[in-house]
């Protein structure tokens, strides 16, 4: 029950006039509030973390600016009108940043109540990129320091890269240009890769958690030998996913080598820092994997060539040995002939020593009986026989008068 209900003097006209006299319309109130807000809070700086971001086709951007005090959240809705955004774009681009969920920002503007919705909010007019980048750098340093302390910083680099990494786990946004570039290079290599793809969101809410979960999932797959984390180009703040600690930890503890191909060449992300191999683009990442396999193919080819060389050398060596043997045989034959010849000469000279003609020249002679037999004993000489004695230059005929055996007196 209201006071009006009990008022017997009440008439509609009087009441409305009375209310109107002592009240403001909604728009008047909103205008009045906004006037106070503008007077008291014109162009103030405020900082916080960007929460949920929506970017409708109008070109305006709406996002929550959040302060989280150990779970106690304070939120203000920020409106970044299209015109302001266009004005700020060159500055943000110059610092390679954009307004994305999860980053810290320091923005300038004026709080207001929006007439159409009655919602209290903040009209953004400027941004301080150095604050965001400084915060990202500080966060990054902290994460790297923590990973080093825990011995995780270079843990993935201590994993063993297979000689032929042919079964590849891929973490990427399926159908993205990055995914297409990566696959194109692998396909063109002609190598029979086996790809296990895990589709993830690579930016925005929940992206880091998905990427980390996908790395862990692929690590558990028996037929995955190497995990590739692929993402196309984007601003530094767009790539915040890859500076996320959960992603870095998933890479560090992955038992298989992780290759990154995160398209940005200004800085290494933390994911790049801890990966087995970091590459500036998805294509470069695929090239690195293909090269590893081709290294093996080259190694095998080199071995094959060396074997061919060794075999040819071995055959040439055998031929040389045969030729040497033949040569030695020839030499041996010549030597043997010479030896035989000189032996024969020696024999001949020895034999010559027994030639009767030679002996006769020294005074020896041979005596034949009249029957022509050689007289070797006094017994062969018959008394009265005409014997013929041959000397070196002729013959002497004598008659046997007496024979005297050796050892008897003449």
């Amino acid at each position: 029950m209201t006071d009006f209900a009990d008022d017997t003097e009440y008439t509609a006209d009087v009441s409305i006039n009375h209310v109107a006299d002592s009240a403001q319309s909604v728009s008047e109130l909103i205008d009045a509030i906004n006037a106070v807000l503008t007077r008291e809070f014109r162009e103030v700086w405020v900082y916080g973390e960007v929460g949920k971001v929506s970017q409708p086709s109008s070109g305006h951007v709406y996002f929550d600016l959040v302060e989280d005090n150990d779970g106690e959240k304070h939120v203000i809705s920020v409106k970044l009108w299209r015109g302001v955004r266009q004005r700020l774009m060159p500055k943000m681009k110059q610092h390679d940043m954009d307004v994305v969920s999860g980053i810290k920002v320091r923005i300038r503007g004026t709080p207001d109540v929006y007439g159409s919705t009655g919602q209290f909010g903040f009209k953004m007019s400027d941004i301080d990129p150095r604050f965001t980048l400084g915060d990202l750098a500080a966060q990054r340093d902290e994460i790297i320091a923590r990973l080093k302390n825990e011995g995780l910083y270079d843990r993935n680099r201590r994993t063993t890269l297979p000689l032929v990494p042919i079964s590849i786990g891929v973490v990427t946004s399926k159908g993205s240009a990055a995914h297409a570039d990566f696959m194109k290079t692998l396909e063109e290599s002609g190598i029979g890769f086996t790809i296990t793809l895990c589709d993830v969101r690579v930016q925005g809410d929940g992206a880091a958690e998905q990427v980390a979960a996908a790395i862990t999932l692929l690590d558990g797959q028996l037929n995955v030998e190497l995990v590739a984390v692929i993402r196309g180009g984007g601003s530094r703040t767009d790539l915040a996913t890859f500076d996320n600690e959960a992603v870095a930890r998933a890479i560090s503890v992955c038992s298989k080598p992780v290759f990154t191909g995160i398209g940005h060449d200004i800085d290494k992300s933390i994911a790049d820092e801890v990966a087995y191999s970091w590459n500036k683009t998805p294509t470069a990442c695929a090239v690195a994997i293909v090269e590893k396999v081709n290294d093996f193919v080259r190694q095998v080819d080199t071995a094959a060539q060396r074997i061919a060389t060794v075999v040819l050398a071995a055959l040439a060596n055998s031929e040389r040995r045969v030729a040497n043997a033949v040569g030695r045989l020839r030499t041996l034959r010549t030597t043997a002939l010479e030896a035989a010849t000189s032996r024969i000469k020696l024999l001949a000279s020895e034999i010559a020593g027994f030639d009767p003609v030679v002996l006769m020249r020294r005074g020896w002679s041979i005596t034949y009986s009249s029957e022509g037999k050689v007289i070797k004993s006094v017994k062969h000489a018959k008394l009265g026989d005409d014997v013929t004695t041959r000397v070196a230059d002729g013959a002497i005929v004598s008659t046997v008068v007496v024979t005297t055996p050796s050892g008897t007196n003449e």
Partner: protein
């Protein structure tokens, strides 16, 4: 004698190790021609197995999903 393994299952590491061993054996000047021929035959097989396995198969793609809780 060279280690003989089932070509379908031989690992790349084993293949390269065996090739190196064959190479070393072939470099021995005292190797006889029969053994030479056998080793070369084995080396040729190994090289073929490695090349075929890498180049002959077509690129295959399969997809796995994150569990619901991670999506």
């Amino acid at each position: 004698m060279p280690r003989k393994k089932d070509e379908a299952n031989i690992g790349y590491e084993d293949a390269v190790t065996e090739l190196e061993e064959i190479l070393e054996a072939l470099s021995d000047e005292d190797i006889n021609v029969d053994e030479l021929a056998e080793r070369v035959k084995r080396a040729t097989e190994l090289v073929k197995v490695c090349r075929d396995r890498i180049a002959a198969a077509r690129l295959e793609v399969k997809e796995i999903q994150l569990p619901e809780a991670s999506r």
